[in-house]
């Protein structure tokens, strides 16, 4: 087995490849990660000049799923290059299946990933003795600081790519407990579940960051942006927030690729992934549907017909 590349080696390879892509005119834009204002943060970067590829970086703090940005960089006859992790690549499949982008408009640079650090978990550690994780270390020295989704990642290696920048990473074995959190909540009484979600939905600011980050939320006009929609309201109260979150979750049902962006970008830490994962769990139980976006040839469970439908139609 070959040695795992360090983030610096991947970064170097990434810059070299992107310089080549831009210089040859293969792509008009590179969508990638650049260093942020702190060592444990990165920001999205959009590069059109080959001289600027030095801004590109790769380390275990590249949690953002950049796939949604492809919508802003669609050009007829031109290609945008994008850097994706395994989970992000499912977002690319989402956009392709939804006909939001064409395969020949995107050049996918895949990076096999062994987990991303959750910067929200870092501050406590900085204060402690061990110090923050080193972004340049090839080994994941702090598995406890990863995002929850990384613990049972199904696709560490991108499911779709034009070039893979490192050796493929195998999924972690024994990820059967991936729905443990959902099962625990399901077993509570209706009142307990209601109280749990009321507590979270009450905090919602209706900033719509969850929607904006989502590769499955691509309507040209969102009902929540309408001036005076008929069935929902823009009011920020518990009922309307609940309605918003149920509509959001159901609108992406069967299409949510479980990249966890909604959850990650939420400024008030509403556990939105629980709603999406509840649906993914049910689709798995009822339709034996894999996590959407895993296979580009598998249609979304709720967008397909099949005589083995589990509904009783009574």
């Amino acid at each position: 087995m070959s040695e795992k590349k360090t983030p610096s080696q991947i970064t170097a390879k990434l810059r070299e490849e992107c310089r080549r892509l831009l210089e040859t005119g293969t792509v008009h834009t590179v969508i990638g990660f650049a260093r942020g204002s702190l060592p444990d943060r990165t920001v999205p970067v959009f590069i059109t000049n080959p001289k600027d590829v030095e801004h590109l970086t790769w380390n275990p703090f590249c949690a953002a799923n950049l796939s949604k940005y492809l919508l802003d960089h669609r050009r007829p006859g031109g290609k945008a290059a994008i850097i994706v992790k395994g989970c992000d690549s499912r977002g690319i499949v989402r956009l392709l299946q939804d006909n939001q982008i064409l395969r020949d408009q995107v050049h996918i640079l895949g990076i096999p990933c062994r987990g991303q650090y959750d910067h929200r978990k870092i501050p406590g550690l900085v204060a402690g003795e061990t110090g923050p994780p080193d972004p340049e270390s090839a080994a994941l020295v702090h598995p406890e600081l990863l995002f929850e989704k990384c613990a049972y990642c199904e696709n560490p290696t991108p499911v779709i790519y034009d070039l893979l920048l490192d050796d493929a990473v195998e999924p972690i074995a024994g990820s059967n407990g991936r729905f443990a959190e959902i099962t625990a909540l399901e077993e509570k009484t209706a009142l307990e579940k209601s109280a749990y979600w009321d507590d979270h939905f009450n905090r919602c600011l209706r900033c719509y960051a969850c929607r904006n980050a989502c590769p499955a939320c691509t309507c040209r006009e969102c009902v929540f942006d309408q001036f005076d929609p008929d069935w929902v309201s823009k009011r920020n109260n518990l009922s309307e927030n609940t309605a918003f979150h149920l509509i959001r979750a159901f609108h992406v049902a069967g299409r949510c690729v479980d990249c966890g962006e909604c959850d990650r970008v939420c400024p008030v830490q509403i556990p939105l992934r629980l709603l999406n994962r509840k649906i993914i769990k049910d689709l798995d139980e009822l339709f034996e549907a894999p996590t959407p976006g895993t296979d580009i040839n598998v249609k979304p469970a709720l967008g397909d017909f099949n005589s083995r439908d589990p509904d009783k139609f009574h």
């Binding site: 579940k193 209601s194 309201s233 159901f250 709603l275 649906i279 589990p310 139609f313």
Partner: protein, 55 residues
């Protein structure tokens, strides 16, 4: 089925949201179903979830 499970997941009592397939020619079945559901809802009492919009 997915919607129903999602609503139950967020704390709605299962009886409050029901879906039935009834054709336009099945008037009796429609009436019986509505009566049945009405009865169930009355037993549950007023819904407390998502009621603060009109206040």
């Amino acid at each position: 089925m997915i919607m129903k499970r999602l609503l139950e997941f967020t704390g709605l009592e299962p009886e409050r949201f029901q879906a039935r397939w009834i054709s336009g020619s099945e008037g009796a079945k429609f009436a019986a179903t509505v009566q049945e559901i009405t009865e169930q809802i009355k037993n549950l009492g007023p819904n407390t979830k998502m009621r603060d919009t009109d206040e």
